[in-house]
């Protein structure tokens, strides 16, 4: 083909340079292949830097009772059994090795104070034991920088500020990708023997979100448009603690680490209300009274006693995110919130100013600088914020292979690991474990492919023409107005609480937005033009928004992050299925398939060891009442 479009050839093309993409690229490159890493921003700026609290791994450095089996069980119970059990198992088994490997590559984790100088771990929601390896409250940055420095010395070729617009296929196999560079706007073709999607999340779909401009669901849409199946799209995590004031920072994340270090919620009556919201599955594991919770706090957090020696249970502020977010939402809805529509999160009365600054330095600065609030003196005001997508590209649990040959996915844009609700800390471990596996599988796949495929130039012309459309459309609506409306439609129709009528309406409104998007217009030219980028990203957001709504309509039960006002309970039949979304010739095709279940003997073994509880399993399977 004549070089009408700048063309590169790589054995493995990794799209997305957050933790999962970098880890995949490192692995593929370590296997001797020629690897390209495409990032939408500059290298090292990906949304992984926003991960604060830590990496979950059963290292057992602080609490020797911790095991991979317990981590597996916590992940499954946290995800309300909607997880692909095999992914949760692989994850729990391999996470400790991935953390130690990161240390060998130069990450500098906080240390234990017991004189042994091991990696220190902290408490986080839904984890039975202290389990999160961390670096203050900037663990994501540490992980990303470590991988970045490892990667650049390994010969990975990095294409910064480059956005992929479409995957290219021959029959059922991916053979390349087509996109553009932000700086110049010029198109670029990557021919590849295999592709790893690691594009992160979808946060920009909602008005109140902790995510950056990059999180526009690119991987989901690229995979979907190429014909890959998406799974579990109804599960969108709302993190309980986002900032609520000033308006410009609404949604900005406040780490769960605040609660891990002893922070508690209070409503405007001064009541510590979380004790009223403990679901049956957590009844045995969390303190039932304020007194018990405070004694635990005093012994474990303040005095630093070993948890094994403490009979009290931990405070309910440390339950999983779906449970806590719903509690906050309910308190706010029922009028017990504060002036800016949030709930108080108090660490000031719990820890000394010195401890707060040492343990939660970014939180201290964030509030001081952006809200004039000194968190060592007064409570923070917080509320739920869209944070994470549990659903995504359906992948094989071992290889991370999608339903398209040569296409792999890892990290947030893949599905299965987290079920209906992700536990804090499981994201960083997820992207290391499955990033590595995706890179390895892609490398093995590419080794079997002999040559690069010819790409039909007319297909590229067509795509390039599509990308140009916002400039050619007659002057009309700009992309920002459409984005803002889309966010409101999603918040109203398919947000934290859902019901059939609202979702049906949401689908109609999405359809109208789709029509408006066809006529979107952009000023200027293709050189570094954010208005144009937003117009193109909107295609992806709309696909994801529709997939979420359609999947949520099908699941007529409440499970984890998916709460249906019209179906509040766990349903026995839905506990065995996962919802699949796929492209068809006309409209989005939605179906259900069987969800793989934990093998009976493995389950029995964990019940016998008191790691899983049969009653809780039956509740989550809708066999006995739970709500």
């Amino acid at each position: 083909m004549d070089a009408k479009y700048t063309t590169h050839e790589f054995d493995v093309l990794v799209i997305g340079a957050g933790g999962a993409g970098l880890r995949a690229a490192i692995e593929a490159s370590a296997n001797g292949l020629k690897v390209a890493l495409v990032c939408k921003s500059l290298l090292g700026k990906a949304h992984t830097v926003m991960a604060e609290g830590g990496i979950a791994a059963a290292l057992g450095t602080v609490d020797s009772r911790d095991t991979w089996q317990q981590h597996f069980a916590d992940t499954m119970i946290g995800g309300n059994l909607a997880n692909h059990w095999q992914m949760a198992q692989i994850h729990a088994l391999e996470a400790p090795d991935r953390v130690r490997e990161l240390e060998k590559w130069g990450a500098v984790f906080d240390r234990t104070t017991d004189g042994k100088g091991n990696i220190n771990v902290r408490h986080f929601g839904g984890h039975t034991y202290k389990r999160l390896a961390h670096v203050g409250d900037r663990t994501g940055l540490e992980l990303l920088r470590t991988l970045q420095d490892r990667g650049v010395h390994q010969g990975i070729e990095v294409f910064m500020e480059c956005t992929v617009y479409s995957l290219l296929k021959k029959e059922n196999r991916v053979v390349g990708a087509f996109g553009y560079f932000r700086e110049t706007g010029s198109p670029v073709l990557f021919k590849a023997k295999s592709i790893v999607l690691a594009t992160g999340g979808i946060g920009k779909l909602y008005r109140v979100s902790s995510n950056s401009w990059e999180c526009t669901g690119d991987g989901f849409a690229l995979g979907y448009l190429a014909g890959a199946e998406l799974a579990d799209m109804e599960y969108v995590q709302f993190h309980p603690t986002g900032m609520v004031w000033p308006p410009s920072v609404r949604g900005l994340l406040i780490t769960e680490g605040v609660r891990g270090e002893g922070g508690v919620f209070r409503n405007n009556l001064g009541k510590r209300f979380m004790f009223d919201y403990i679901p049956p599955k957590y009844k045995d594991k969390y303190a039932s009274t304020e007194e018990e919770a405070n004694t635990w706090f005093q012994k474990v957090i303040v005095e630093g006693r070993k948890e094994e020696t403490v009979k009290e249970r931990k405070p309910p502020e440390l339950m999983s995110r779906d449970v806590v977010a719903r509690a906050l939402w309910t308190e706010i809805e029922q009028g017990r919130g504060f002036e800016h529509g949030g709930i108080h999160l108090d660490i000031a009365t719990r820890r000394s100013a010195e401890d707060i600054k040492k343990k939660l330095p970014s939180m201290y600065h964030q509030f001081k600088q952006l809200a004039d609030v000194d968190i060592t003196k007064v409570p923070m005001e917080v509320g739920p914020t869209c944070h994470y997508m549990m659903g995504g590209i359906k992948v094989d649990p071992e290889t991370q292979g999608s339903t398209i040959d040569g296409l792999f996915a890892a990290g947030e844009c893949s599905a299965g690991m987290h079920g209906s609700n992700r536990l804090g800390g499981n994201s960083l471990s997820d992207l290391l474990v499955f990033g590595r596996r995706a890179g390895l599988s892609a490398a093995e796949y590419s080794k079997k492919i002999k040559t690069f495929e010819q790409i039909d130039e007319s297909e590229l012309d067509q795509l390039n023409h599509e990308m140009n459309r916002p400039f050619e459309n007659p002057k009309g609506e700009n992309a920002y107005a459409i984005l803002s409306d889309l966010q409101q439609v999603m918040e109203k129709g398919a947000g934290m609480y859902r019901e059939e009528k609202g979702m049906m309406n949401c689908l109609k409104e999405l359809d109208q937005i789709k029509k408006r998007l066809e006529k979107v217009s952009t000023e200027g030219n293709r050189m570094f033009n954010p208005g144009w980028h937003t117009a193109l990203d909107l295609r992806n957001l709309l696909i994801v928004g529709e997939a979420i709504t359609r999947a949520a309509l099908i699941r007529r039960e409440s499970r984890g992050a998916h709460t249906r006002i019209d179906f509040l309970n766990y349903s026995e039949s839905f506990s065995k299925t996962r919802v699949i979304v796929k492209k068809s010739a006309q409209e989005m095709q939605v179906s259900s398939e069987n969800l793989s279940q934990i093998p009976k003997d493995f389950e029995a073994e964990l019940i016998a060891k008191n790691i899983l509880n049969e009653v809780v399993l039956n509740q989550l399977r809708g066999k006995i009442a739970a709500h």
Binding site: S41, L42, G44, K45, H47, V49, M50, E103, K104, W105, G106, V108, D110, R111, G115, K116, G117, N118, N120, V135, G136, R138, L141, E142, R145, D149, R150, V152, V158, E183, S212, W213, W245, P246, P247, S248, V249, L252, L253, S362, H365, Q366, Q369, L370, A371, N478, A479, Y480, A481, T522, E523, G524, N525, M527, F528, N529, P530, G531, W532, T534
Partner: protein, 244 residues
Amino acid sequence: MRSIRLKIFRGTSNSGEFKEYTLEVEEGMVVLDAIHRLQATQSPDLACRWNCKAGKCGSCSAEINGKPRLMCMTRLNDLPVNKTITIAPLQTFPIMKDLATDVSWNYQVNKKITPFTPKSNAEWHWEQKDIDRIQEFRKCIECFLCQDVCHVLRVHQKHSVYAGPRFFVRMAALEMHPIDSADRLPFLKTDAGLGYCNITKCCTQVCPESIAITDNAIIPLKERVVDRFYDPIFILFRKLFKKK
């Protein structure tokens, strides 16, 4: 709601000028919010980088009223009211478009640094106090504000012979790692041009992560280079005992 006036650089490295804008803003907004509102309402093709909007990714660096700062962490309230706010791209790097500059040189410098090289017989245990100082360096978010303000780069354009404060911080983190075994002092002395730094501490002043770049990273590295290459007693000692 109040109205502010902004003067923003618009253009490329070939041609460009400051353009004036008037904008309605609300309480609590930061400079980056003002830019976003401009994009949404007046100037959709205004180029600027941003990601986390929380001071954690270091993308939105610019010069606000002449001072290198992160746009996401600069509140409009903290700037003089009733005066036009000037927003310019970083001066030390070539302009791509508007507020986006070409910072690729930094990535090239980073590649030349010998990566973390643990001792082969290392014990992977150490105390918190052994790593406190390198954890300070590892807070760096690569906003490149220190590079922007450093006169060796900004005024003297020594990009080809000088690594800049960002990479002195990175090398300090590696050199002071309890089990690193690589030797970066010859590189620091020659290719990285550590000697060009004359400790004006401008980098420390602009660091949004409050890293004591000069005192904790650059000066200790300078001392190590001096000990190795310029201290006559050390040189004699090494000659006598045939140590490196």
